[in-house]
C-alpha cells in the first residue's frame, strides 16, 4: 500500500473524541505507510467542500470525508468521482441520494446509539417512575437530533420513563455543568430527577460535577447514561459516579484504509456500509481497565 496519498476532510477538533479520531487515523495511516493529509474544517461544510476540491486538484488517491451534515455533497462528490478518486465516509452517513458517489461509509448509527442508551435506562429502572433530564448536543447538529430520536425510541412504550427537561449543553463540559445546575434548581434541588441522559460524555462529566456540588450522588441517587465512551467517563464510573456509556469508536479510519487499499490493489468493492459497533459499557465492565486502554488514544 505504499505511495498512497489520502486526503481526509475532518470536521474539526471540537471534542476529545474528535481529537482521538484524528490521532487514531494518523496512527492507522502510519501503520500502513499511507500519506495522510488532514484538513480541519472547523465545523463548516463549506470548508469541507473546499478541502475536497483542493484534494481533487492535488490529485490524491482517495478522499476520506467525515461529513458535518448529511446533505449537500452531491456536486462535490460528483467532481471527485469524475476525477476517479474514491471517497470514503467516516463517522457519519450522508443522504441516500448520494449513495453512488462514494465507495463505502464507515459509520456508527447515532440513532442506534441513542436507542441503546434508552433501552439500558428502561431496563435499569424497571417499573419505577423515572424523570429524565436530557442534555442535548448543539442545536441543529445531526448527531444531536439522532441521539435524541434514538433515545426517545428506546424509552417509547414505557410510560414510567419520561423526559422532563431537555436543553442544549452544546457538547461541552462547561455548558453541561451550567445546564445541569439549572436543571437541579428547576427540579426542586434535584430530588425529583431520576436519571440524566447526555448526548456525549463531556457534557455528562460536567453534569456529574454539578450534581456533586449540589450535594447529590450521581451514579447512585441519579442514574447517568451518555454516549462516546471517552476515558474520563470511565474514571467517573470507577468512582461510582456514572453508570453507563455507549461507545463510539474513534477508529473509523482503519477499516476505511483497508477498504481503499483492497479497492486500489484488487478492485475489491467493499460493502456500502461498514457499521462500527455501538457497545454499551457499564460499571460492570471494569471501567479502570477500559480507561487505561483508552487514555493514550488522543482523547
Amino acid at each position: 500500500a505504499a505511495d498512497l496519498t489520502v486526503g481526509f476532510s475532518q470536521i474539526g477538533s471540537e471534542s476529545g473524541w474528535r481529537a482521538a479520531e484524528t490521532t487514531v487515523s494518523k496512527a492507522e495511516a502510519e501503520k500502513r505507510g499511507i500519506t495522510l493529509k488532514i484538513a480541519d474544517a472547523q465545523q463548516k461544510q463549506e470548508n469541507q467542500i473546499k478541502a475536497i476540491r483542493a484534494f481533487v486538484a492535488q490529485g490524491v488517491d482517495a478522499i476520506f470525508l467525515a461529513p458535518v451534515v448529511s446533505t449537500g455533497w452531491e456536486t462535490v462528490l460528483a467532481e471527485a468521482k469524475e476525477a476517479e478518486i474514491p471517497v470514503v465516509l467516516l463517522d457519519r452517513d450522508i443522504d441516500p441520494s448520494g449513495k453512488d458517489l462514494y465507495l463505502t461509509a464507515v459509520t456508527s448509527d447515532s440513532v442506534h446509539e441513542g436507542r441503546v442508551a434508552g433501552e439500558w435506562l428502561v431496563k435499569t429502572v424497571g417499573d419505577k417512575t423515572c424523570n429524565v433530564v436530557e442534555l442535548q448536543g448543539t442545536v441543529g447538529a445531526s448527531v444531536a437530533t439522532n441521539r435524541k430520536k434514538g433515545f426517545e425510541e428506546g424509552i417509547a412504550g414505557h410510560a414510567n420513563v419520561t423526559i422532563v427537561r431537555s436543553q442544549t449543553g452544546e457538547f461541552t463540559r462547561a455548558k453541561g455543568k451550567e445546564v445541569m445546575e439549572s436543571f437541579i434548581k428547576a427540579e426542586g434541588g434535584g430530588k425529583s430527577i431520576c436519571a440524566v441522559y447526555a448526548h456525549n460524555d463531556d457534557m455528562m462529566v460536567g453534569a456529574i460535577q454539578a450534581m456533586k456540588e449540589a450535594g447529590l450522588k450521581p451514579g447512585s441517587e441519579i442514574l447517568t447514561v451518555s454516549i462516546d465512551a471517552v476515558p474520563d467517563i470511565f474514571k467517573a464510573m470507577a468512582a461510582g459516579e456514572a453508570n453507563a456509556t455507549v461507545e463510539l469508536t474513534p477508529n473509523m479510519a482503519g477499516p476505511a484504509f483497508d477498504a481503499v487499499v483492497a479497492f486500489k490493489e484488487n478492485g475489491t468493492v467493499p460493502p456500502k456500509w461498514i457499521q462500527t459497533e455501538s457497545k454499551l459499557y457499564t460499571s460492570a465492565d471494569d471501567p479502570m481497565k477500559v480507561y487505561e486502554s483508552k487514555k493514550d488514544l488522543g482523547y
Partner: protein, 327 residues
C-alpha cells in the same frame, strides 16, 4: 449633536430587575438561597457565578472599547491560559501555575497592544489574528484533548468559596475593585476617556496615548487570562476547543448594555459588569424556563433589543414628544 453624559445606570438596573422578576415568574424558586457544603447555593448565585467569566472579560473590554478599540481575542486568550493552568496544575504549585497562566495572558495583551498602538493596525483586525491563532495555540498545548487535573488548590478557584461566596464571584469582585481603583482612583480614567474621545488632541495635550493603549490591552488580556483560569478550574480541566468560544461577543455586548459607546470615550466599568449580569440572568432564565433550546436565540435577540431600546435616548425623546402631543 447628542453628546453622551456620564452614566446614571438606572436603565441597566431596571433591566436587570425586570429580567430577575421574569425569572422568578418562570421559576418560583429563583430567589431561594441555601447553604450547601459551606457555599451559597441557588439560582441567583448561579447568575453571579456563571456570569463571572463574562464579567471579568467585560472589565477589560470596557477599557479597550473606551479607547475606541475592540478585543476579539479574549475568548482565545481564555483558552490559552486555561490550558496552561490545567497542564501545570498537577506538577507545580498554585502560585507557579497562576503566574504562568497570567504571564502568558500578559504576553498576549502585549502582542495585541503592540499591533494596535505600535504598528497602527486596526484593533478588530489586530485582535482577529490572535483570535484565530490563539485557539490553535491553546489546542497545541492540550493537543486537542481535554486536559484534566486534580490539584485541589486550582480547583478551589472554580468551586471553592470564601464565607459562602463562590470563589469566581469573589475574584471578579476583587478584580472589579482593583480596576476601579486603578482607573478612577488615578487620572487614568480621564486620560482613557480623553484619548477615546479624541486621540490627536490627547496626544497634543501630553498624554502618552501609545503606552496607555498597550497597557489597556495588557489589562484586558489579564482579565481574560483570569477568566480562563476560572473556566478551567470550574470543570477541572482545560477544554481548549470550547473554552471562551464566542465569549468575546458576550463581553462586547455586556459593555454596550452597560452604556459605553463602541466609538470610545465615556465608559463605566461597573455598568459593564452589570451588563454581564444582565446577559447571564437572561441565559439562566432561559435554562430555567424549560423551553426547547431552539427558542434560546430568538429569546436572546428579543431581550437584547428590548434592553437596548429601553436605554435608547432617542426612544425616550420620541416617547416624551408623543406624550407632550397627547396632552
Amino acid at each position: 449633536m447628542t453628546l453622551r453624559q456620564p452614566h446614571s445606570g438606572v436603565p441597566q438596573i431596571i433591566a436587570l430587575l425586570v429580567i430577575l422578576a421574569v425569572n422568578w415568574i418562570v421559576s418560583p424558586q429563583f430567589f431561594d438561597i441555601r447553604l450547601q457544603d459551606g457555599r451559597l447555593f441557588g439560582s441567583l448565585i448561579d447568575v453571579l457565578n456563571r456570569g463571572a467569566p463574562v464579567a471579568l472579560l467585560s472589565i477589560g473590554m470596557v477599557l479597550v472599547i473606551a479607547l475606541r478599540g475592540i478585543d476579539l481575542s479574549v475568548g482565545a486568550v481564555m483558552a490559552i491560559c486555561g490550558a496552561i493552568a490545567a497542564s501545570l496544575a498537577d506538577s507545580h504549585s498554585l502560585p507557579v501555575t497562576l503566574a504562568a497562566a497570567l504571564g502568558v495572558g500578559l504576553l498576549c495583551g502585549l502582542w495585541n497592544g503592540i499591533l494596535v498602538a505600535g504598528l497602527g493596525i486596526q484593533p478588530i483586525v489586530a485582535t482577529l489574528i490572535l483570535m484565530v491563532a490563539g485557539r490553535g495555540i491553546a489546542q497545541l498545548i492540550t493537543e486537542g484533548r481535554i486536559v484534566t487535573f486534580t490539584d485541589p488548590a486550582l480547583a478551589w478557584i472554580g468551586g471553592g468559596s470564601i464565607v459562602g461566596v463562590p470563589a469566581p464571584v469573589a475574584i471578579t469582585a476583587v478584580m472589579l475593585l482593583v480596576t476601579l481603583l486603578l482607573v478612577r482612583g488615578t487620572a487614568l480614567g480621564l486620560m482613557i476617556e480623553a484619548t477615546g474621545g479624541n486621540e490627536r488632541a490627547s496626544t497634543l495635550a501630553g498624554i502618552g496615548t501609545r503606552a496607555m493603549t498597550i497597557a489597556v490591552y495588557v489589562w484586558c488580556s489579564l482579565c481574560a487570562a483570569m477568566a480562563g483560569v476560572i473556566a478551567a478550574a470550574d470543570i477541572l480541566g482545560a477544554d481548549a476547543n470550547n473554552a471562551g468560544l464566542w465569549l468575546e461577543l458576550d463581553a462586547i455586548l455586556a459593555v454596550v448594555i452597560g452604556g459605553t459607546s463602541l466609538f470610545g470615550g465615556r465608559f463605566s466599568i461597573s455598568l459593564a459588569v452589570l451588563g454581564a449580569l444582565i446577559i447571564q440572568a437572561m441565559n439562566t432564565g432561559i435554562l430555567l424556563s424549560g423551553y426547547p433550546p431552539q427558542f434560546n436565540l430568538v429569546v436572546k435577540a428579543v431581550v437584547v433589543m428590548a434592553v437596548l431600546l429601553v436605554q435608547s435616548p432617542k426612544l425616550a425623546g420620541l416617547s416624551a414628544a408623543l406624550r407632550r402631543r397627547a396632552r
